[in-house]
């Protein structure tokens, strides 16, 4: 046997998606190595809001995945306990004027057919749900299934639990420099800057870097960064109870625009701070801040919650969502490289979709029928065969 460590499966990426993949693979009885170039949750997971949403998804494969994930997350809380700050807080999509509210109503009607719970709320009922919301808005849809978690803690605790029971080995600060392939191109392990880690199964959960990992195995997976900024306020007594966003947010999530788009997304956290998003723009890996984004996000948040006017903005953080041209993640075995599976390209929905992604990856590795048809998520859908 060649030197280096042996695993049943290697997961590249210790973000929330990688952590969920490792967790479900370990639950299936496999010995899993998790490799990350940095610390746990250091990439997109550590730059997000921790949303587990069904509300922002159109009916289709991604919504089915989101609904499955939402159920699985509530089960995961039994596994990792309260540490991940999972909160079934519900989401509220707000229509400022009657016409946007009408759009929201039509969108919700379609979602209901797919199993989403969506309730129209207006006037006093809306203010009862969210007392500080601007009373002038036309109406809103309440989505009780929307949840929030602290994704860094969720990822870290899922991996830590696997380590404790002896199923997961974590390799942090470990750069993957190559994918080992044997006969017929089947993967045999990964080459790191330090050593070779051997396994017949390699899961690419590298998020924004998923395309680079795929290229190491000689296949193309088109994943690009879509930049986002989030503003963080000083801690307050609970002022925003749920995840509240304007109708424009749903349109932006699905948009193909490269230029800057912003839509207010406002939510409280367990620590009392309020997070204000969300901006989306395709500018590569440029981290340069554009101050106009900060003011625009602040103005849009105040439109939803005028009460926040005197609240201090403490900091901003930003990151890159890994997105594919059709806004769908890449999940499942790569038919071109035996033993290689992808679990990346979740864009801004990685936390929400992570549980279901890990679940179906494990099912696929174990040769079981997956709970969700993975065809729409196949890496080969983009056409190009080999890089």
């Amino acid at each position: 046997m060649p030197s280096g460590q042996n695993y049943d499966a290697i997961v590249i990426g210790a973000g929330v998606v990688g952590a969920c993949c490792a967790h479900y693979l370990a639950e299936a009885g496999l010995c899993v190595g998790v490799v990350d170039r940095g610390s746990v949750a250091a990439g997109t997971t550590g730059a997000g809001e921790g949303n587990i949403l069904v509300s922002d998804k159109e009916p289709g494969a991604e919504l089915d995945l989101a609904l499955l994930s939402q159920r699985l997350w509530t089960e995961l809380i039994d596994v990792i306990g309260s540490a991940c700050e999972l909160e079934a807080k519900g989401g509220i999509a707000v229509g400022y004027d009657p016409s946007t509210f009408e759009h929201l109503q039509q969108f919700a009607a379609k979602q209901r057919d797919s199993g989403v719970i969506a309730t129209e709320v207006t006037g006093g009922d809306l203010l009862a749900l969210e007392p500080h919301l601007n009373p002038e808005v036309a109406g809103a849809i309440y989505y009780p299934q929307d949840m929030q978690t602290q994704p860094m803690l969720a990822a870290a605790h899922l991996i830590a639990r696997g380590v404790r029971v002896g199923r997961i080995t974590l390799h942090t600060n470990t750069d993957v420099v190559g994918i080992r392939q044997g006969d017929g191109g089947a993967v045999t392990g990964v080459e790191t800057a330090r050593e070779t880690l051997w396994a017949p199964i390699v899961v690419n959960a590298a998020g924004t870097w998923g395309g680079q990992i795929a290229a190491m195995a000689g296949v193309e997976v088109p994943i690009l960064p879509r930049r986002g900024f989030i503003l963080v306020t000083e801690p307050l007594p609970t002022t925003v109870h749920r995840k509240v966003y304007s109708a424009q947010y749903v349109a932006n999530v699905a948009s193909d625009e490269a230029s800057l788009q912003t839509a207010a997304v406002v939510e409280g956290t367990e620590s009392g701070t309020i997070l204000i998003g969300a901006s989306r723009e395709r500018v590569g890996f440029d981290r340069t801040r554009d101050w106009s984004i900060v003011s625009t996000l602040a103005a849009q948040a105040l439109q939803l919650f005028p009460v926040l006017e005197k609240v201090a903005l403490m900091r901003t953080y930003g990151g890159f969502r890994p997105y594919c041209p059709d806004h769908m993640p890449v999940i499942g075995p790569d038919a071109r490289v035996p033993g290689l599976l992808h679990a990346c390209g979740h864009e801004g929905a990685g936390v929400g979709l992570a549980a279901a992604t890990g679940h179906v990856i494990a099912q696929s590795v174990m040769g079981q029928t997956t709970s969700i048809d993975l065809q729409p998520f196949a890496a080969e859908r983009f056409g190009a065969l080999h890089v």
Binding site: I159, P235, R315, T316
Partner: protein, 470 residues
């Protein structure tokens, strides 16, 4: 509030020795120079002035007409700096009473002379009222004439402890003892570098020695404060325990002694204030004291064009070095602003003198830093309920769990998993402690991440929102 200029040729952030020296030199060609400082009066930390004190001008800056052309705006905090084509835009907020006043200044050349803040380390009880940074105590006395306590224990390391002691006793306060964690024999190892400038500074040292002798203040070297006690959990300081320590500052068993005091100052060196420079993505290095410093060339230019730095931001080195660096930065600012035809080399004799003096002072600062190091391995060995991050109330146990059980390998991961450094002070208090608790030596990348504060001071959302419409 005074109407601020929207644009200028040279914007200097910080009205201390470095900033004022830079401003004076930069104004030589008739450039429009603006100086901004968060404090009420110019002078900076060293030359801090009370309301009744005469104004401070750096030595040799005698041309009153030139000062008259320099616009100095006090009570403004620079919270963000961004490049905008050939200009640098610096965003300002008014002081605590004017938090809604926001302003932006576009400048052709930026000089960052924002100084340094006290470096802190977590010790059991350091969150109690009555515990403060040495520099904080000094500012309180110099700026407001207020004593930090009736009886103070001055602790930490470095010659700055003596400056704090002098400030307290000269203001009529009592110092129970000076607790220096390092051994003076370390000075001998670096004697060659310390000697030339040290002789120059020996007058200051003798003055401090005289103060200690006159007031019979014990000066305990190789000792460290290990616990700070009060009547109950959140009560003010009533006493402090001091231990003899080894070279790594680990307490030696059986050496404890208790001081009855109502104030403890902590001072473990300084951390350069690099917010603006990190926002601009300037290159940085680790300096001899283990802290982060911005990289500058011979003429105080950072890696970002038209952005210069002087004083403690380039490595903590004291007021004399800050003034020299400020002068060089100001001269270079003038040079950068001259159009090609007018461009002349600065007087080489003057420059040679300034470079030489800066070289001496930098070598002295480095030798001092090596003589008074701040090891951190002992921090992790303290009681688990020691508060690491006071803003977010994160205990040592929580940080060690993140490191040992949750896979956090650097300060950023510890922050994300524990909230240490996410609170009101944005990690200014706890980042050195957290870095010290990380496995392995601290990397520049990790220090840069910790020093990267996208917004320097909290700003009301309403004011931010309005800014976009302006």
């Amino acid at each position: 509030m005074t109407e601020l200029a929207a644009e200028c040729d040279v914007l200097v952030i910080g009205a201390g020795a470095a900033g004022l020296s830079a401003a004076y030199e930069a104004a030589a060609d008739g450039n429009r120079v603006v100086v901004i400082d968060a404090n009420a009066r110019p002078g900076g930390q060293y030359h801090r002035r009370g309301v009744k004190d005469p104004p401070y001008f750096p030595a040799g800056t005698t041309d009153a007409q030139r000062w008259a052309n320099i616009a100095t705006y006090m009570g403004w905090q620079a919270y963000a700096a961004d490049l905008d084509g050939d200009l640098v835009v610096v965003r300002l907020r008014g002081d605590e009473r004017h938090r809604n006043d926001l302003h932006a200044v576009s400048t052709r050349v930026l000089v960052v002379a924002t100084g340094a803040v006290d470096r802190q380390l977590a010790i059991p009880g350091w969150q109690r009222p009555g515990v403060m940074a040495g520099g904080g105590a000094q500012s309180l006395i110099k700026g407001s004439g207020v004593l930090p306590g009736r009886r103070t224990l001055v602790t930490g390391t470095g010659p700055f402890l003596l400056a704090v002691t002098a400030a307290i006793v000269q203001a009529g306060g009592e110092v129970a003892a000076v607790i220096e964690a390092n051994q003076p024999r370390r000075l001998i190892r670096h004697a060659a570098q310390l000697m030339p400038t040290g002789l120059m500074k020996s007058g200051e040292a003798l003055k401090f020695a005289a103060i200690l002798a006159r007031h019979r203040i014990p000066y305990l070297t190789g000792h460290r404060v290990t616990e700070i006690h009060g009547a109950e959990d959140d009560a003010a300081v009533a006493s402090a325990v001091v231990h003899r320590v080894d070279e790594q500052w680990r307490p030696i068993e059986g050496s404890a002694r208790t001081f009855e005091v109502d104030c403890v100052t902590l001072g473990f060196g300084f951390t350069a204030q690099l917010d603006l420079l990190m926002q601009l993505d300037c290159e940085a290095v680790q300096s001899a004291d283990g802290g982060l410093a911005v990289c500058v060339d011979d003429n105080q230019m950072t890696s970002v064009p038209r952005v210069l730095a002087a004083g403690e931001t380039t490595g903590v080195g004291g007021v004399d070095l800050a003034a020299v660096e400020g002068r060089i930065a100001g001269i270079q600012a003038c040079h950068l602003l001259r159009t090609d035809g007018q461009r002349t080399q600065p007087d080489s004799k003057v420059m040679t003198g300034l470079y030489r003096r800066r070289g001496h002072l930098r070598r002295f600062a480095k030798a001092l830093a090596l003589s008074f190091p701040t090891p951190t391995a002992w921090v992790a060995e303290q009681t688990g309920d020691t508060m690491v991050c006071r803003c977010e109330e994160v205990s040592l146990t929580t940080v060690l769990e993140a490191r040992d059980d949750l896979g956090a390998t650097d300060a950023r991961a510890i922050k994300l998993l524990t909230r240490a450094g996410m609170g009101w002070c944005q990690g200014r208090m706890c980042s050195y402690t957290v870095e010290g608790l990380c496995p392995g030596p601290t990397s520049v990348a990790s220090q840069k991440a910790a020093a990267n504060r996208p917004i320097g001071v909290p700003i009301p959302l309403g004011a931010v929102a309005k800014q976009g419409r302006a």
